[in-house]
């Protein structure tokens, strides 16, 4: 290139991660910069790839259940619910009503813990240190309920195919109720800290806009889609596990920017509390396990079942060949698909916003890489 000197090149390629505090794990983003403007990105993922889908083919249906907890490890209960529902669909059975109610309570509790972790780390990325302490303090209360219920805090393995393994413990209702009462003022407190804070607002408003149509194009789901004004939630659209009995709203926002995603998630936590309050009042009596043999052996066939995980649509596509091991399990991870939209969101923005946008996508690398 004789006619250009190195001074003409004003593009800078910057590597971010895989060990960067604000990439939430081991995400590596290669940024192409023009000054401070991002002109392109390339995500390098797979550092946490454990081959979950391959493991599934070598385990029995029951044995694979603990592994799904380890994909989205901050929302392990949701993962387990999706997996159990998928196998139940293949077996053509349904969990008894009591099990369904408990499942709903725990899944909503899990949604809160997941959102709290998101809020804390997201705020930390933006530079607000205080929320992370409060979030973890309150998340602890929810984790205690998990621990009391099933004996583990994070990778819970709470549900089994056909229902529940554990009956609720004494005092479960009171603890959940106490959590609900405690939690709503706390959400107000977080909002007091952040919603009007000028730094917070200026850092988030208008950053990383993704319109509803773009979301659909990329397959982005969950709070990101709802913040773009699409009122779509699998809990309402295709209710599972008895969600149709509960009265709740789907929070949406209009602009599809980072700030809107924040408000949507805050509202979602309130709605989760609302669902839990309704569910805890009427846990039906009865068995907690449907009739499932000790050996789970679904008839040959396939099913795709998806649930609304805290991050978006979490789907399981399971192919059975009438043996005790799945022939193929495919997980449709919401984080993986959502992360794909990162390029569209950061392009044209400033480099400082990349951190905010990765935070707002709420990805968990365990699920991106599986």
């Amino acid at each position: 290139m004789p006619e250009s000197t190195f001074l003409d090149v004003n593009e800078l390629v910057l590597n971010m991660g895989p060990q960067h505090p604000s990439t939430h794990g081991v995400l590596r983003v290669i940024l192409k910069l023009d000054g401070e403007t991002v002109t392109g990105t390339e995500c390098v993922i797979g550092y946490l790839h454990r081959g979950v889908e391959k493991i599934a083919e070598n385990r029995t249906y029951i044995q694979f259940a603990p592994y799904v907890d380890r994909m989205d490890y901050v929302a392990a209960v949701s993962n387990g619910l999706g997996y159990c529902l998928a196998i139940e669909k293949l077996l053509n059975i349904e969990a008894p009503p009591r099990a369904q109610a408990v499942r709903v309570i725990l899944t909503e509790l899990n949604r809160i813990t997941s959102h709290l972790l998101w809020l804390g780390t997201h705020a930390l990325d933006i530079g607000a240190i205080t929320p992370v302490f409060y979030c973890f303090r309150d998340r602890e209360e929810a984790l205690k309920i998990f621990e009391n219920y099933c004996g583990a805090r994070l990778t819970t393995h709470a549900f089994r195919i056909g229902g529940l393994q554990y009956e609720v413990y004494d005092g479960f209702e009171q603890e959940v109720r106490a959590f609900c009462d405690m939690f709503i003022p706390k959400v107000d407190e977080y909002e007091e800290l952040l919603t009007n804070n000028r730094i917070w607002v200026n850092r988030l408003k208008g950053v990383g806009v993704l319109t509803g149509d773009e979301c659909k194009e990329y397959g982005v789901t969950g709070p990101v889609l709802r913040a773009a004004g699409v009122k779509w939630d699998l809990r309402k659209a295709q209710p599972y596990s008895g969600y149709e009995q509960y009265d709740f709203d789907i929070p949406t926002a209009q602009n599809g920017d980072t700030y809107d995603r924040y408000t949507v998630r805050m509202e979602e936590m309130r709605q989760s509390v609302r669902i839990m309050r309704q569910a805890i009042e009427k846990i039906p009596a009865g068995p907690i396990m449907a009739k499932v043999g000790k050996v789970v052996k679904p008839p040959a066939g396939e099913a795709y079942v998806s649930i609304e995980a805290p991050k978006g649509e979490l789907g399981y596509y399971v192919v059975s060949d009438n043996s005790t091991q799945p022939y193929r399990v495919r997980v449709r991870p919401p984080s993986f698909v959502n992360l794909q939209a990162l390029d569209r969101m950061v392009r044209g923005g400033l480099i400082a916003d990349v951190v905010a946008i990765i935070g707002t996508l709420d990805i968990v690398l365990g699920e991106v890489d599986r």
Binding site: H49, K54, N322, F336
Partner: protein, 210 residues
């Protein structure tokens, strides 16, 4: 694992002799974890007929060979060449504007061993539809990227795990595994303990990972 390993009977009372046969040595259990793949028995799907099938039949004729439903989930089996136009048709005419997932299933015994599954969803009618195409090993499948942008990474993952290449994909590279990796882990002949020993040795400096 064989069925008789975990008896279906209820737990015997304490002290009673166990009902299972003598335990297998642990080595057998580890080796038994990888049973040779056998052709799956057919699934009991029933034919599917609805308003959508009519328009699909009209538009594509014998390009779509099967309309089925199983457990209330509809799927069609199509020719690989027609995939593009089917996706396009479904997106524009039938509002299937959300490509949920692309994945593959490996049937090594079949003539065209890879079954690619496209899961679509329509926001307007709250409906799901699966499209399946079959491609043989080494044959390129058509890419869906110019119909659904979101297909990009999903196709890369299928390539990464199964080695199915997509014609017309802008960036057909591995996504989860390192780029120099050889072998496609989700193929049935790839055993669970297998890995690319050369890559592991070169990059991690250890003989093997297990």
């Amino acid at each position: 694992m064989a069925d008789e390993e975990i008896p279906a009977s209820a737990a015997p009372p304490a002290g009673a002799p166990p009902k299972v046969a003598a335990p297998k040595p642990a080595a057998a259990a580890a080796a038994g974890a990888h049973a040779p793949p056998k052709p799956p028995p057919a699934m009991a799907a029933t034919p599917w007929d609805g308003p959508l099938t009519g328009s699909l039949k009209q538009a594509f004729g014998d390009q779509i060979s099967q309309y089925s439903t199983y457990l209330g989930q509809n799927f069609v089996v199509a020719n690989a060449e027609a995939l593009d136009s089917i996706l396009d048709f479904l997106k524009l005419e039938a509002d299937f504007d959300y490509l949920v997932d692309i994945t593959a299933v490996d049937y090594p015994k079949a003539e065209k061993r890879f079954e690619l599954v496209y899961i679509l969803y329509s926001f307007a009618s709250n409906e799901r539809l699966r499209i399946k195409i079959h491609v043989a090993d080494g044959v390129k499948a058509p890419s869906a990227v110019h119909v659904h942008v979101g297909a990009n990474w999903l196709e890369r993952e299928v390539f990464d795990m199964f080695g199915v290449e997509f014609e017309g994909h802008p960036n057909m590279r591995r996504i989860l595994l390192p780029e120099e990796w050889t072998g496609f882990p989700l193929r049935k002949e790839y055993s669970i303990l297998k890995q690319d020993d050369r890559w592991v040795k070169e990059n991690l400096g250890i003989e093997s990972g297990h």
